[in-house]
Amino acid sequence: MSVSADRTSYLRVESATRSFDGVPAVEDFELDIAEGEFVSLLGPSGCGKTTLLRMIAGFEIPDRGRIVLDGRDITATPPNKRPVNMVFQRVTLFPHLNVFENIAFGLRLKRVSKEEMQARVGEALELVRLPGFAERNVQTLSGGQAQRIALARAIVNRPKVLLFDEPLSALDLQIRRELQVELKDIHRELQGTFVYVTHDQEEAMSMSDRVVVMRDGRIVQVGEPVELYREPSTLFVASFVGNPNVWRGTVATVDEARTLVAVGDRRLEAGRCAVRAGDDVALVLRSEILTLSKHAQGGNGAAREGASVDGVVADVRFVGPLVSYRVDVDDRQLVVSRPSQADVLAEGERVTVAWNPRDVLLLPTDDANERTP
């Protein structure tokens, strides 16, 4: 899906601010979402993502700012009059109604004819892969089934925007992964506009067209998943979307070709970056950019400058397609991942960890001490 600057705005959040007891949960928030887009709001708990979603749903009214949907200002429209529907974090199926009546809830309020209701509920059940569940008692459903029915109950109303408030967070890992794939398929089938709140970076990155990384009620960075991964604007984003190795240091020299960063008594090489000598930086080394080789016998000790360091394998973890190594480099550590097909190195083996300087990220450390994964 193309994400360009001149994308037409379908759902627009305009300098929205909402405070609780004087503490701002969302502050001066600006966001434009295109029709048919799948946007995730990603951030740690308390970052304001749920408050923002609830403002779009109508459960919270912003203190300041506007919310415009399809050209109509809905800032103060009550939730029952907004053409949006929500899938909640907890199961909110009505326990006194069966599956059919739960899904038909919105249609009954709109006095849809019996035939149309039957057809639309049937379609919705097909879409969430639970045909034949219409007469089930909702209390007999598993967690995953309940959330599918909740999705069907929302979709059946053909909302202009579908809202998701961490709908999978209470489910087992395997079911969660399954439903992530299905949700993305459903998005493709419906061509609908989805706004999805989550604190799970993998979930956000794997499903969305765009991810909005939030913190303390504000946007830290917005972008396509690949963009966020490759070019995070801050260490916070890099940490949130990757879980990389982070070494702190000071820029020693910068020239046309490369940047050297002093970390302890080492001078480590990165590509050309927009930094100046003397800057404090975070050297971000993702585990997959690192290569691992057996230390050459009889070498003249560890190189202290360049795009590699020597160390000792401290721990080997086999995680399916990858083998994850923890390498002790003096008093620091690096996590390196290699494909499982490569020779497995033993614990205690002396190794050299190397990288391509261009793959290294140098980020400001401003917010570094506030959150380190």
Partner: protein
């Protein structure tokens, strides 16, 4: 100890089927004559109708007022919320005897003539706390997210109440109503002080026993016992349904 519980019950039930008017052993044989006496007596019939009328009106008013007050107190944070809660529960702290005398002097002062209506007012004041407690405890563990989900799906406040809140709290309302009915049905103290010309069933039984030895009292007591057994069992069923 259970002898004192079950022996009297057994004796009352047994003698309600007695052939003769004696209330003591020996038992002379089976008959339904005392039941026939109860059903053919206009005194009992009128008393039953009067008691039913008082109990049903009490239930109706308490269910509406108590439910609204319960919702107000649990959902909305308003000034005087504590006061409302206090006034709804306060009558439970008053002895029935005191409440009866107080109501009587109030009605005399305000020149309201005593009738079944004054009895009903007395019962209302007396039973409100019990119903209120049942409703409030149900509403406090109500999942408000269900109401948000209903709003989200297009239901306005009234439709949300009718389609989600009410059906879910209905079992508690019915249980509360049954409790209220039974409290009103055999209430004596307040009724005694606020009654007019038309007596309720407990008062008729009381005066019958005082005046003469009438075995039909055994029959009506047995009927009441059967009624309250059915009542208790149905409440238990309801509670079981609630907990599943």
């Amino acid at each position: 100890m259970f002898v004192f519980l079950f022996a009297p019950i057994a004796i009352v039930v047994l003698f309600s089927f007695n052939k003769t008017a004696s209330l003591t052993f020996p038992f002379h044989g089976w008959s339904l004559r005392w039941y026939r006496a109860v059903f053919s007596s206009p005194l009992y019939r009128d008393a039953i109708v009067a008691s039913l009328r008082v109990a049903l009106i009490t239930v109706l008013v308490v269910v509406v007022v108590g439910t609204l007050a319960g919702i107000g107190v649990t959902r909305h944070d308003f000034r005087g919320r504590g006061l409302v809660r206090f006034f709804m529960l306060f009558p439970a702290a008053l002895p029935g005897l005191f409440l009866g005398i107080a109501l009587l002097s109030f009605f005399v002062q305000t020149k309201v003539s005593l009738s079944l209506w004054t009895v009903t007012v007395g019962h209302l004041v007396y039973v409100v706390p019990y119903f209120f407690l049942v409703v409030v405890s149900r509403l406090q563990r109500f999942d408000y997210l269900l109401e948000e989900a209903a709003r989200d799906l297009g239901a306005g406040p009234f439709a949300t109440f009718r389609r989600v809140t009410l059906p879910l709290i209905a079992p508690s309302l019915i249980a509360g109503a049954l409790v209220v009915f039974s409290l009103s049905w055999d209430e004596v103290f307040i009724t005694f002080f606020t009654i007019g010309a038309q007596n309720t069933l407990p008062l008729v039984i009381y005066s019958t026993v005082k005046q003469s030895v009438d075995p039909s009292v055994n029959a009506i007591s047995t009927l009441l016992l059967a009624g309250s057994l059915v009542f208790v069992l149905s409440v238990r069923r309801l509670v079981a349904d609630l907990q599943q």
